[in-house]
Amino acid sequence: MKGPDRDKTPKPGELVRQLIEAQDERYEAIARLLHDDFGQQLAAIGILLSTLKRHLPPGDSESLEQFERTRQKIVALGESMRELSNKLHSSILEHTGIAVALRAYCAELSARPGIRILFESDGEFDTVPLRIGRGLYRIAQESLTGVARGSVRISFADRQLEMAIESETALSISPLGLAILRQRANSIGAALRMESSRLTVSVPLKTPRPGAQTTE
């Protein structure tokens, strides 16, 4: 391949970035389908089912029990869809920003048996662009996979946004996974440092704001 054609071939790093963006777009589309279509249909089924309850014969405990079991299945299905949708695309991030989204994600992980992920934030994050928030959130999601006990800390001071993820044991990130994380970091102008049990992402930003909040 010569001259102009060769120039059009993306560099490996650029190709990975494009693949990550394409993957994220696909994830977001699936998440929206789950929420906007499947979720709405499930909500309609839930209400329709509940209206049937009025037509059950009085004292028919067996039918009432079946009704309740069906209702619980619908609620559980709705919860599974919500979890999957949020895993693919965080609606909390869109509405409330990176710090709240990370706090909610840590709380969600910690609700699972045997998992405890602490969260701490220092600073105000209102001015963090959504694009950067999305990148950080994805890095946190991907690097926390398999972590049973650890922490996520995010701080914003001196025009520097920093996120640190720590595990009590070594982080289980494959070489390919790490390459993807580095590319995600690059795509938002961040530097990523990886040690065995600690991963740090630093992003220079223009507008710092003082303040502090800490939650688990």
């Binding site: 929420h35 906007d36 979720g39 709405q40 499930l42 909500a43 309609a44 089924i45 839930g46 209400i47 329709l48 089912l49 509940s50 209206t51 309850k53 009025r54 037509h55 059950l56 009085p58 009432l64 209702r71 619908i74 609620v75 709705g78 869809m81 919500r82 949708s85 949020n86 609606s91 909390i92 869109e94 509405h95 409330t96 709240v100 909610a104």
Partner: protein
């Protein structure tokens, strides 16, 4: 099993605006609330909802709205409602309650949350509770 007592018999007919882009769900909710004795207005999105709110401002007591809607996000819609009518109650419907819980303080008292999927009993109970407080 009987439907809860029609609120019109205890509180007089109150008016509710339902804002939901999924038509089937909106119709179901409207039907349940009408049968429960409320006057119901329907809108398919935030812009329609705000237009109805302006036209029927004096009549409306409560807005029941989806959180994720095309065109105007439910949070933005809630802020618009709160500015136009700070006294009106708002019930959010959402499969994911966390964004509402995080920002509920922004809209003051008179906020309700219905987690989808919900039952007709939960719908009526939530509407009654917010109307009592609004």
């Amino acid at each position: 099993m009987e439907r809860p007592t029609p609120p019109s018999q205890v509180t007089g007919a109150r008016s509710i605006l339902i804002v939901e882009d999924y038509k089937e769900l909106r119709s179901l909710i409207a039907e349940i609330l009408r049968e429960a004795g409320y006057r119901v207005f329907e809108a398919a999105n935030g812009a329609e909802g705000l237009s109805l709110l302006q036209k029927e401002a004096e009549k409306l007591n409560l807005v029941v709205t989806d959180l994720a809607m095309p065109g105007m996000d439910g949070h933005v819609f809630a802020e618009e409602i709160h500015q136009a009518r700070p006294d009106i109650g708002i019930v959010f419907m959402s499969a994911d309650p966390q964004p509402v819980l995080e920002r509920a303080g922004d809209w003051g008292d008179g906020i309700g949350l219905l987690r989808k999927p919900f039952t007709e009993e939960e719908l009526i109970a939530c509407v009654q509770n917010v109307l009592k407080g609004a």
